[in-house]
């Protein structure tokens, strides 16, 4: 499977990374190099093998469904590029 310019542009869009038009051919070429390397995986017989979900067999812990944390509005907003009146501020989303 070879990645063309159009696919590279689509992937960039999905990843929400702006890539300029003139950078697309080189990007597509890099993808092809990496995917070409990954293609080797097709040689492996994986019949009957479950995809690994956890490297260590472990059961996730459970805890009481109670509030354990909170009331940290100032701390949570302290690193925001734009915070106003106790909220994160972003460009207009709805017209």
């Amino acid at each position: 499977m070879s990645i063309d310019r159009e696919t590279a542009a689509k992937v960039a869009k999905l990843a929400r990374i702006r890539v300029t038009e003139d950078a697309l051919p080189a990007l597509a070429e890099e993808f092809n190099t990496i995917l070409g390397f990954i293609e080797q995986l097709n040689e492996v017989d994986v019949e009957g093998i479950e995809p690994m979900t956890s490297v260590t067999p472990m059961r996730l812990k459970r805890r009481e469904d109670v509030v354990t944390d909170g009331n940290q509005q100032a701390e949570i907003l302290s690193n925001a590029p734009d915070a106003r009146e106790g909220f994160f501020a972003v460009p207009k989303v709805v017209e």
Partner: protein, 495 residues
């Protein structure tokens, strides 16, 4: 007393307890070395005031006679660890100005034990790289050089600043993290020791995430004993990390007897790569002979899926990274791009991420996005996870057959020159991790031990891979190897 910065953790601990030296003296010695080592670009955020405060507190504790082994030990902390009130930006522009309101569990454990933070250390951006050349801070530089050649060499990556700082004696030890070899490869490139523990030993809470099913923190130190001491302090069960193991943490140092009689050491034939330099081959043979002479039984083994570890890794790690790094959107922390008239929220995301992420990070996020996208998820991501299960099974079978540890080279070469790989395609750089990445995929503990010097005068490392949760036994085997190898070389000071 001079050269306090050259102490190992064990030496410093003993001197502190005897009252021969104070934590403040140790700290001042390191701070002055850091000041003079700008050329290495290892420390990227300096915290001398915090270090002095912590040193005073440590001295009080030591005087009171209640001091754990790490009390009063000055450390460097990889920039990937969130440290409260101190810049923590994973060497990325996108986290510029970010000062966490919280402390990572690993650094909190170290501080609770009395350790001192000198500052934050350089690394590859988001730990994505094998040469520390993807950092927003610029390259970290290896204190080692090829003979009299003054070409700057890479300290390896991603924990390049940690490796450089420890090898150059700017601190007594440092924290590192390892997703595909990021502790063990730089340790090998700089003649120091580094261990990646079993997945789940160290809490990942507060460590900036790269690939969550592979990431583990570990110590980078001047000796195996120091790795044992520091690892005991870093590990804990942490309810804040759902994959943190609820097992007691052993006293790893107590396991260092040096007695490995009857231990079975596996030598995997698949690690004999085509085109491997003769010196690496020789080092491996020498290491094998040393362990045999120490009483171990050497056994040839096969790990048949080794060849597929790197391609599987370069599906799984980017896939997890694309998901983890989705959080950098310019809303809650870090960099936000300046917007043009009429730009909406999508433009804000796209511009912010294009400006904030470096080239390698962008590439991996996009590869991850692609392998997870509709229509390819099964062909790439699920297939890679099935291959991962086979890689782990290779190790399981070897351990079931009685193998205690596996010996391999740590890296396929010695440290290379900064900029030397500039024109290589990305896959060439990925090959640096060919011997280490299997260990992350299988969740196993692995340690790199300096074992020799090549003909250019650069250090080379050997890797030992252990059974899950048996770091104590692994460290003891590493200790026997270290003793036999007798590696004592240090880089000549030019910086």
């Amino acid at each position: 007393m001079t050269d306090l910065n050259k102490f190992t953790i064990a030496e410093a601990r003993d001197a502190l307890r005897k009252g021969d030296v104070t934590a403040l003296e140790l700290t001042e010695a390191c701070l002055s070395q850091i000041e003079g080592a700008g050329a290495l670009n290892a420390f990227v955020h300096h915290t001398p005031d915090l270090a002095r405060d912590q040193a005073h507190a440590a001295d009080t504790r030591i005087k009171a006679g209640d001091a754990p082994s790490m009390c009063g030990i000055p450390l460097g902390i990889k920039d990937l660890f969130c440290t409260k009130g101190v810049p923590s930006q994973a060497a990325s522009r996108i986290l510029e100005g970010f000062k966490p309101e919280y402390e990572s569990t690993v650094t909190q454990n170290l501080f609770d034990a009395g350790a001192i933070m000198l500052g934050k250390l350089n690394m590859d951006e988001f730990a994505m790289g094998s040469s520390n050349e993807t950092s927003v801070y610029g390259n970290a530089v290896n204190p080692w050089r090829r003979g009299n050649d003054d070409a700057a060499l890479t300290p390896g990556g991603s924990s390049g600043g940690s490796a450089s700082a420890v090898a150059a004696d700017l601190c007594l030890a440092a924290t590192g993290t390892d997703t595909g070899g990021s502790i063990r490869q730089p340790a090998a490139f700089t003649g120091i020791t580094g261990i990646k523990p079993t997945y789940g030993r160290c809490s990942r809470w507060g460590v900036v995430a790269f690939a969550s099913s592979l990431d583990q923190a570990g110590p980078m130190t001047k000796s195996v004993r120091d790795s044992a001491i520091m690892l005991s302090a870093m590990c804990s069960h942490d309810p804040k990390d759902s994959t943190s193991a609820d097992f007691p943490v052993p006293d790893f140092e107590a396991a260092l007897t040096g007695d490995i009689k009857g231990k079975v050491i596996g030598i995997p034939k698949e690690y004999r790569m085509e085109g491997m330099p003769a010196e690496i081959e020789q080092l491996w043979a020498d290491g094998t002979a040393m362990l045999k002479a120490a009483g171990a039984e050497i056994r040839d083994i096969s790990l048949p899926h080794t060849k597929y570890a790197l391609p599987a890794y370069y599906v799984i790690a980017p896939a997890e990274a694309s998901s983890n790094l989705a959080r950098y959107d310019g809303v809650r922390y870090g960099h936000r791009a300046k917007l043009a008239q009429g730009d909406g929220i999508t433009e804000m995301y796209e511009r912010t991420r294009a400006e904030g992420f470096g080239h390698e990070v962008q590439r991996r996020v996009m590869v991850g996005t692609y392998v997870l996208s509709a229509g390819f998820y099964d062909a790439y991501y699920n297939r890679a996870r099935r291959v991962r299960a086979l890689i782990k099974r290779d190790f399981d079978l070897a351990f079931e057959a009685g193998v205690d540890a596996i010996l391999t080279p740590a890296t396929p070469s010695a440290a290379f020159g900064l900029g030397e790989m500039k024109d290589a395609d990305p896959v060439q750089m990925y090959l640096n991790d060919v011997f280490t990445v299997t260990v992350n995929l299988a969740g196993l503990p692995g340690i790199s031990v300096p074992a020799g010097i090549d003909k250019q005068g650069l250090p080379l490392g050997l890797q030992l891979i252990g059974r899950p949760w048996e770091e104590a036994d692994l460290l003891n085997t590493a200790y026997a190897l270290e003793t036999a190898a007798g590696f004592v070389a240090k880089p000549g000071k030019w910086w």
